[in-house]
Subunit: 138 residues, 4 copies
């Protein structure tokens, strides 16, 4: 299947991100996914803030994470993000979070529906859809 | 000085609330302060959601916490909250968080300014101010 | 397939739980899942804190959530939790989060592996496994 | 009074950081303070992770924040941090968080006590104290 290339962004693990096991709390990886897709969209010159400024939101309809390993305070993790699929009114991002040695910590995906200001399903802004399609390799 | 009586609400500590020291992350006490004042206002029959529904917000202008002790996962803490002062356009809450044995963990206060929908300073809803004044002992 | 009965626990939505859309941030549902399984285990007289006190941890290996609707500040949501499967060294919880009218907001599951103090896969404490099996209807 | 120079670090505001007012939740500034002091200590070549690796912790004994303005999603804020005071067993950090135009959003401080592995008050590692003193201008 066609996907965009992985876009990478780094996150320094804060004390706040850890739990009493000494590693990243499992739910926080969904925040890291958010950072990953935000930075991918900024890289595509269509920051998510612009999507909302244009009157649309990409609401999350599904999120999944598989946990293989974990790291603790002050680690520098890399969130790799790519777009796995785009349709008229939905988009799907895939993620891999790796540690400084490149070891896979967590993989996952999020699915999003495009809604308009009235929170009704809507076609994505055509410019955004075009940019995404151009970045999905065939 | 006159203050309202302490209102008590209990919070069960989640894994999410802890950090790698095994105890509550220091910033999370400000969330517990939020819970404390929300439950105090509900107890006064003027839930904070109503304040906002009426077109006002009580924005935080200052927050302070002193940390004496801490507890970990699954502890049941009690947040004691009282109103220390109310003026036309501001209010001040005081807090004490204690553990199950009544030991003081954290004390603190928050100061709030009343803003209207345009985010300009505004007099508090008169009904709210009256309720608060009635609950501050003289 | 056999599952335990749904156990219900309520959570009051804090300002902290919301994001700028005015509703619960998607990642916070994983915290609510944590509260759901903690309260289910307490209900089964085997609080998760005891599992760790006995030298085991139930580390999350997978988490999934499907998002159907969402609610905002001060809402009272109910987290329904049940055990869908238990094996020698793993357990799977299922969740449904509903609003005050019983409307489904989010469904999902988490899978957990049992590790010992050395963070190696381990059989679950036999007492815990027995309690869980007794609560899974056949 | 003598203080170290301001050290600056930038934080991109996540959706997760906002609340339903559309701006940064007040308690999250304490997380930003954490990031500020961690990066200041890294800049001084004594990362906080090393303090803990050496068997010490700098536990927070007091935190205060004054809120002047706020910003929303995708803003880039700068956390300015300096050391205001160091004693044998305690240290005090000061913070200013400003927006992209340099406007002051929040100012504050945290006070920390040095504890050893047994969580008893302890003198700070002498190397750390020396580094800090050298960075406080007289």
């Amino acid at each position: 299947m066609a996907e965009s290339e992985w876009h990478e962004t780094q996150i320094r693990i804060r004390y706040k991100d850890t739990d009493r096991m000494g590693v990243i709390y499992y739910g926080n990886y969904l925040t890291f996914f958010e950072v990953g897709r935000a930075e991918l969209m900024r890289h595509l010159d269509f920051p998510y803030a612009e999507v909302e400024a244009d009157g649309y939101i990409l609401v999350v309809t599904e999120a999944k994470a598989k946990y293989y390993a974990n790291v603790g305070y002050d680690s520098l993790v890399t969130v790799k993000t790519r777009i796995a699929m785009v349709r008229h009114a939905s988009v799907r991002f895939e993620y891999e979070v790796v540690d400084e040695a490149g070891k896979l910590l967590v993989s996952g995906h999020t699915a999003h529906a495009c809604l308009n200001k009235e929170l009704k399903p809507a076609r994505m802004p055509s410019e955004l859809k075009k940019i995404i399609e151009e970045n999905i390799e065939s």
